[in-house]
């Protein structure tokens, strides 16, 4: 069981590393918006741009 004297500190180092990674991710805005980035993969890149320029800025 003496191995625990090494394994637990090692585990704690890993936890500390995980926490550091989480803090870094939070700080860089990874968790600010969890919903919309998922939609970007569904976009069709081949979707034609609006070829009707008269629409733009049309204020009726």
């Amino acid at each position: 069981m003496e191995i625990l004297y090494i394994m637990i500190p090692l585990g704690l180092v890993l936890v500390a590393f995980g926490l550091w990674a989480f803090f870094w991710a939070t700080g860089s805005g990874q968790f600010d918006d969890l919903d919309s980035p998922g939609w970007t993969v569904l976009e069709d890149d081949k979707a034609p741009p609006p070829d009707d320029p008269s629409r733009k800025g049309d204020s009726r």
């Binding site: 585990g11 939070t26 600010d32 919903d35 939609w39």
Partner: protein, 825 residues
């Protein structure tokens, strides 16, 4: 009405009978409820963004009827835009825009794509959690006004925000809460891992050195949890104590600190129990509840946001004969402003030139437009419907009527009784239980063995707050909050769940809650042989130059395809004009019949003389009447069921409205509400609420307008509609995001179930402790059994709480009619 086939493709609202408008989408004709929705749906698909309808998970906001006036003109002027926006590298500018109607991730995708397709847009980031978008664009290539128009075309109402430091603060607050939660989560998992061998080691015999080691490691891991993750609780407790009051944070902090200090003491001295697992789990679950609550609060937004949506940021000032666009903050008393039709007043003032009609519903709840001849006062935030007006400013900034309502709101919040009451009760119960127990133990031990009195008292203080007991309330509240969110009810203050379960009375504002808040053509009865669509087209053409709410109802449902000329307004009676070579009148029956000379009698069996004048409008020519239109602010289809459901739960309803009494009485009768009062100012509503509260009632208030905000602030539980005004939402405890009243009785039910679960949990945890502790203390329970019992008691509590979320998933309906249509498309 059946859900399929008769609800709008875009917004999912029922389509009025007799109406036949279709939007051409992907080669198919889809039914829509109005021309606003038709324009938006066709714009979205026309721009190649039709995928939006496949991916969205809630129906969109009903589109505004097509605007005749351009409210974004001011944002086309470069010198003004420069002062409202922030500079970015390479000459670009940026601005934060609040998007009303942003309801799901697909909406934010839509906003993002629609803007990115514009040339000159460098960056768009849309945050659906806060309904804000940050735009970066090149002013030489595209005008800000054009970008705002694009957003409006896809059905999202943009509100540009100046400055906006609060948004940054909210973001930092969310990030910091998430970090504290992560530390508590990681920490509690680690400590649990060390607690299991400690419990079982105690049963099977463990090397004392290893036991010491495990306890010290647990302590090491718990320190950041107790200090860093628990910090907001201590801060809250300190603030409350300094203000000489008790908030929920006080007993929570006391519990954490006592259990933690006792555990540290025991871990260092090497005897007694350690409760690091309880402490860390307690911090984690409480933090989790707080985090969910904070997200809901941020979404509801702040009072500052609400004001930004109401009062425009720019105004058109006339000084020395020169008209210029200025920022609203630059307006001074005595300035003259030109307010065109369709614009919102930037300050309070008096009309000096022009004769207009103003929609004051956001301030007074009055749904009819008010005539404003020269000399009449106008208020900041109200909407100029008809002719352009020249206004002399009489009050700005903090002196306007709108600011007065905001001030009233803040005062009502300060006087709010319920927060203090609920927390006091909880604190008294919590503290009383702990302190009495500890005092008894201390007294007993003082006589038996004074040297052990301190450690024994600490042990009791900690042991009366073990896992199961500490988890009983937070887990149930977290499960209930999540379950309500899935049902479309956002909980902004968790303690309102408890209050909601005890509610005895419901106060309704009429407009926007029981009704939809928009005048619409509800029914068309053709008197002569004519198609419904043709009758609507004639009426819409005749009304196309008018800005009266009735005209807007026609604009929404009929295409103004024909040219009208010689249009003449007869105030209070109707309009006369020539459409398609035909002389037509639209308005009251006598006015229209008079055109034919003969006093044509109207046979309308169901017509109710007491109905307010907006309800029936006739179209006719020289030969007599052509068609009858029934206009109304339609009652929500689920309103009656909601009232009945609440009554079945023992909650009688009452209407307090600012609207005129006949309209209120009619709505009350149709929903089966006995008590109602009309023409109430915000102050009167608050007064009525106070009377009920003094009589001991626990009052739920439902509102959606600015004029309801003080009422909501004062109520025990405030409920706002998802599409209601932002100011109402900031005052709310619960927000019905799906904008459907049927969620309300279900929320009450769930709140009661939550209270039952909390009581069961507490009873179980106390019973376990009461039964197990003395037995264990007297040596009847072997340690391994205590360990299993300890874990089991916590598991039982958590599972019991989880029943709240599981039950709701079974009851979940196929939800939104538009969803099924969107999938079919």
């Amino acid at each position: 009405m059946s859900a399929a086939g008769s609800s709008c493709f875009h917004c999912g609202e029922p389509i009025p009978r007799g109406l036949d408008i279709h939007a051409r989408i992907a080669g198919r004709d889809e039914p829509v409820c109005c021309h606003g929705c038709k324009a938006v749906a066709e714009f979205i698909t026309g721009a190649g963004l039709g995928d939006y309808y496949r991916y969205r998970d809630t129906a969109s906001t009903r589109a505004d009827e097509p605007q005749r006036s351009d409210r974004w003109a001011a944002y086309d002027r470069p010198e003004l835009v420069e002062r409202l926006t922030r500079p970015e590298p390479n000459g670009a500018r940026s601005i934060t825009v609040l998007l009303e109607g942003l309801r799901c991730a697909a909406c934010s995708w839509l906003a993002d794509k629609a803007l990115s397709l514009q040339s000159g847009v460098l960056d768009v980031s849309v945050n659906p959690a806060t309904a804000r978008a940050r735009l970066v664009w090149e002013p030489e290539k595209v005008r800000l006004g054009d970008l705002l128009r694009v957003l409006e075309h896809v059905g999202l109402r943009p509100h540009p925000l100046a400055g906006e430091p609060s948004e940054q603060l909210a973001l930092l607050e969310r990030r910091s809460a998430l970090k504290r939660l992560a530390v508590a989560g990681f920490g509690s998992m680690q400590v649990m891992m060390f607690a299991v061998p400690l419990y079982f080691g105690a049963a099977t015999g463990m090397d004392p050195a290893m036991r010491e080691y495990m306890r010290l490691v647990s302590m090491l891991v718990s320190i950041p949890v107790a200090l860093y993750s628990g910090w907001p609780f201590y801060q809250g407790a300190w603030l409350a104590l300094r203000a000489r009051s008790i908030s929920m944070d006080v007993p929570v902090s006391l519990g954490i600190v006592l259990a933690f200090v006792a555990s540290v003491w025991n871990a260092l001295t090497g005897h007694g129990e350690v409760y690091f697992d309880s402490v860390t789990m307690f911090v984690f679950f409480l933090g989790l509840g707080r985090y969910i609550e904070m997200i809901a609060r941020h979404r509801a937004g702040s009072v500052a946001d609400a004001l930004a949506r109401l009062a425009p940021m720019t105004a058109r000032r006339v000084r020395d004969g020169v008209t210029e666009d200025v920022r609203a903050v630059e307006i001074a008393v005595g300035d003259e402003l030109v307010v065109r039709s369709g614009e919102v007043f930037a300050a309070d003032g008096v009309v000096v030139e022009g004769e207009g009609r103003v929609d004051e519903s956001m301030l007074t709840g009055e749904s009819n437009a008010i005539a404003k001849p020269p000399g009449a006062p106008v208020q900041q935030g109200t909407h100029n419907l008809a002719a352009p007006l020249r206004v002399r400013v009489t009050a700005v900034a903090g002196d306007t009527v709108l600011s007065g309502i905001v001030a009233l709101l803040e005062r009502a919040q300060a006087e709010r009784p319920r927060l203090a009451r609920a927390a006091d009760r909880a604190a008294a119960w919590f503290l009383g239980r702990i302190l009495v127990g500890a005092a008894i133990v201390f007294a007993v031990w003082w006589f038996v063995d004074p040297s052990r009195a301190f450690s024994a008292t600490l042990a009791v203080l900690v042991v009366t707050c073990p896992c199961a007991l500490s988890l009983a309330t937070p887990t149930a509240l977290a499960a209930a909050t999540a379950a309500l969110a899935r049902r479309g009810v956002l909980v902004a203050h968790t303690d309102s769940i408890e209050t909601l379960s005890k509610a005895t009375h419901v106060l309704w504002d009429k407009t926007g809650t029981l009704t939809r808040g928009l005048v619409r053509v509800e029914d068309v009865r053709t008197i002569r042989d004519i198609r419904v669509a043709d009758a609507l087209a004639l009426a819409a053409s005749l009304e196309q130059l008018s800005e009266h709410p009735i005209a807007r109802a026609f604009a929404a449902s009929g295409a103004a395809s024909l040219r009208a000329s010689e249009v003449e307004v007869h105030p209070g009676r109707g309009l006369e004009g020539v459409v398609d070579g035909q002389r037509l009148r639209i308005g009251t029956s006598s006015f229209v019949a008079a055109l034919g000379g003969a006093a044509t009698t109207v046979d309308s069996g169901s017509r109710d003389a007491a109905d307010s004048s907006v309800s029936h409008v006739y179209l006719g020519d020289a030969q007599g009447l052509i068609a009858e239109f029934r206009l109304s602010d339609p009652l929500r289809s689920e309103a009656r069921d909601c009232i009945t459901g609440l009554a079945a739960l023992g909650l009688p309803s009452e209407i307090v409205s600012g609207d005129e009494s006949t309209a209120v009485a009619r709505i009350a009768e149709r929903c089966g509400i006995a008590t109602h009062s009309a023409r109430l100012a915000p102050r009167d509503k608050l007064e009525r609420l106070k009377t009920l509260q003094v009589a001991g009632e626990v009052v739920v208030a439902v509102g959606d307008g600015i004029n309801d905000a003080p009422l909501l602030r004062g109520a025990d539980v405030a409920v706002a509609m998802g599409r209601g005004s932002a100011l109402a939402q900031t005052s709310a405890d619960l927000i019905l995001v799906r904008d459907s009243l049927e969620d309300l009785p279900r929320a009450v039910e769930l709140a009661r179930r939550t209270q039952r679960v909390i009581r069961q949990n507490l009873a179980w945890a106390i019973a376990y402790n009461v039964a197990a502790l003395p037995l264990a203390a007297l040596g009847f329970v072997p340690p391994w059994l205590a360990a299993i019992g300890m874990s089991l008691s916590s598991v039982v509590v958590v599972l019991n709480a989880m029943r709240l979320s599981r039950g709701s998933r079974q009851q979940r309906r196929p939800a939104w009619p538009a969803n099924t249509q969107a999938e079919a498309a």
